[in-house]
Amino acid sequence: MVSYEEMLADKAIFAYLHRMIGDEGIELIRRFPTDKEYSDEELAEVTEINLNSVRNTLYTLYEHRLARYRRIKNNETGWLTYLWQLELENMYDSVSKDLEIILEKLRRRCKYESENAFYNCTNCGLTFTFSDAMDSQFVCPHCNNQLIHFDNEPLAFALQRRIARIEENLGHV
């Protein structure tokens, strides 16, 4: 089995996790003791990471099934304690679920890019569809600069290639 440190050394997995949990979350994973389950307060103490960050990270990871907890009740006080463990083994399932959602988004964007012609304002950098550009008589409504046709074919082509790659990876061939 791949260790968590090896997982974090992978550029794509690191970027994926970092977007979700930030610097402190990554540090929590690096310092997370694997010998037993820990409560959030114990984790904050052991890892020397702020308790709120520990909690936020754990909940985010839990939403992606990358952490799990076991709840125990103190019969005397009635207090509940949540004991946490990482489950980064589920990383590829999590990526797979996100890829399914992203595939749909990229398909929609690709359709939009393929079905429209675009015009650009070289002064303010804004892009308009053909119908919007026509409404403003091919003049930028913000700076009155002439709009110029923007060739989006390389973007649409790159999207098509990536969609095909994701479809193949997810088995939607």
């Binding site: 794509a12 994926y16 992203i102 790159a158 990536r162 088995g171």
Partner: protein, 123 residues
């Protein structure tokens, strides 16, 4: 694998929930016996899995394509992660400028990749 076997796999893989075997032979335009033979080949080659399913009391099977592990590099354009991960904005995918920036990066990294591949071929 024959063309029909590949067609069958494509139909099964086109849906994350797979396809019922009782529907597959109708879609393929073959009889149910031929469909069973095609399914057996796909099962033997480990490309699909078969789960028992009851439809109006009649036993059939749900066929689901087996996937390899998801490739997290599909989320990257060069070194840049797609902005949709952990995005909390209201999603209007056609107007998302963050996605447009990522698409530029994607087009650039694709172009760099094909340049370096053609460079290798020239050597």
């Amino acid at each position: 694998m024959t063309g029909t076997d590949e067609d069958a796999f494509r139909i099964i893989a086109s849906s994350p929930d797979g396809v019922l075997q009782s529907e597959l032979w109708k879609i393929l335009g073959v009889d149910s016996r031929k469909c069973s033979r095609i399914v057996k080949k796909l099962l033997d080659s480990n490309r699909v899995e078969r789960i028992e399913y009851r439809q109006e009391g009649i036993k059939t099977f749900r066929l689901i394509a087996r996937k390899g592990p998801a490739d997290p590099y599909c989320l990257l354009a060069g070194d840049e992660l797609i902005p949709c991960i952990a995005c909390e904005e209201d999603c209007v995918v056609e107007e998302c400028n963050a996605l447009l920036d990522w698409m530029y990066q994607l087009a650039i990294s694709d172009a760099e990749e094909s340049t370096s591949e053609s460079g290798k071929t020239d050597e």
